[in-house]
Amino acid sequence: MQITGSFTPQQTSKRYPALLLVDEPNQPHGQLLLAIDGHEPALAAVTITHVSAMMAGADWRITLAGRGVFTLSASDLPESLTPFLPKGAKRGFFIGLAERLRWRGMIIVFMLILASLTGIRMGLPATGDYLARYIPIHWAKTAGDSTLRQLDQLFLSPSKLSLAERRHIDQIFASIKAKLPPDAIQPKLIYRSSSFFGPNAFALPGNIVILLDEMVEFADDDDVIAGVLAHETGHVINQHAMRAVAQSMAIAIAVGLVFGIDDSFIEEITTLSTSLILSNQSRKFETEADQVSLEILQKLGRDPESMVKFFDKVAAECGEGCNKPNFFDSHPRLDHRRALFE
């Protein structure tokens, strides 16, 4: 059998018409011969050391030991060459064969892509939670301390509450801590003031709860302050801050891994869905913290209704905008949160 192609001597750009001969008349079985037109030797026994992996539209690049390259344009390698291929060469053809799917096969590929995306989407938050559990507590402390230091430099100023006021709030906080399960993480309360954040309170990694003067002033009610502190305590005991960090890390790494293929439009889509996933998780965390808050208020014998009034007050402050649902919001809709305490 004659296989028509062309031959390039090693490390040159010369090109000669050439043939690979298998089982020609008088040729011993199991011998591969190369016949070259216009180059010496005109006929030589050769061995194949490498074959390029199958690729749509590409010529086959067959490397012949010590001689050069035989190039063959065909969609498939001729069967007769199979005995002469080096070990493992056929393995390189697997992907090439997969890439020959027809449109029905491609529909299956698409379904598999969607399925794996869904799997990753479901698995990521869980992976983040799993990672968060293994982050040593002193790492979390370091992260919390450095965040607090940066916040102090940029947005926060020392609290202007009087000692009596602080002592009073400390008592409320202690009563909340007393109602936590015995094995729960103990939060630490810190007072600050910030015109930038306004009436607010937040939980940092390292179990820190920050209460702003503006919040105390805005709430103006012990039950509400208890509710807010219990909410932040809910974030702490459920390790929301660390879990959020771990989840965004997991997502960032996954995005980097998967979409490192191409700098393309897909990257934009992933960035978008990343923030969607993160905001969705964040809303879940807020609801969870609200539930802890409600439970503690009830255990303390305080009035959950005060939180309803508080949400009404917040709603009155920010007008219609607060109730517009938005997929990128970090907090659930105000009326949903309000309904929980009713």
Binding site: Q11, T12, S13, A56, A58, D59, L101, A143, L257, I261
Partner: protein
Amino acid sequence: MAKTPKSPDDVVKNPFASKASAASPDENSYLFQRIEKLAFTGTAWSYFKIYFINILLTLLTLGLYVPWARVRRRRYFYSNTRILGDGIDYLATGFDLLKGWLLVLVGFALFYALPFFDFGIAYLDTVFLIGVFIAYPWALNKSLQFNARNIVWRDVRFTWHGSYWGVAVNLFIAPLLGLLTFGLLLPLASRMMKHYIAKNYSFGSKRFEITTNLWDFYKSGFKTLMLGFGIVVVTIMPLGLVYFNPNIHGQIDMNAPFSWTIIIIMFQLLMVGLFLVTTSFYRAQTRNLMINGLRLDDNIRFRSELSGLRLAWIALQNAVLIILSFSLLLPWAHIRYYRYLTENTYIRPYNDMTQFIDNERNAGHSVGDAFSEAAGLEITL
């Protein structure tokens, strides 16, 4: 008595022997002035399959397949690009790329983990970023070197001869200066970039050479500026008329957040479109200048006949179709763009290009390549 080993000629009939020993191509009287078009044999459908199978396998292997995916993509484009009928081969394997890819991943992980450690050094992440910045030219240089050694036509490889400072000055500092001077030095920077790239490639043992005229680059820059200005006038003017026309003005409630949103979105779309059109136009113009000034081994010349407007139109259409199809048409868009580039590139060969010899073998490592890919750096001819 031992048999003397027989030459194959003694037994098997030489299929070429009947012809009166064909002339060696070197001695053939190839037309000196022959101009050959580069061909691209890829199709949207076959690349579509490669692209999405790459995505699937990357997802299923949680990213481990990325180096192989890159090899598949590059090989597809290279081997379907044909010069005098022969495809270019990309010889790097997924394993070659894996090492660099893993190192870059570790770098990423370190960056994300940085806030968890307090080394008592302020702004450690800034220090890290500066480190990355300093590593850019190194990575790009190594990447060009690695890839050049893995690109082979017939059996001759390319070589990249650039250096850290050469890359830093010509490919990073010069364009930065171009931008900082509000584009005043941009044509100069483009010329520096193109010259640096062209002069530092060799095909086998022969270096590429280039001669261009700085004034031509400024002419391209000026044309691009005029084009951008023209687009702004044509699109903004009607908008302005709507806004200032007292008859129409009354109907648009500028206080309604809705109208503002629409205007802001329109404005952003316009800016993106403008950027796309002007950069494509400029790219086509400067590529033509570079390719037309390129020489190899004194006699081999190249020609590029891109139309700036046509390329801009393709880029704009591609962007719209990619967005509308949720990136399903991305492979099609890639192919279309690439095909336009290759099929408008010509070579004037000499001696049927048989005179080249390769003498180097070492391809170096793939760390720079992975780094540059991760940073989205890419140099294309």
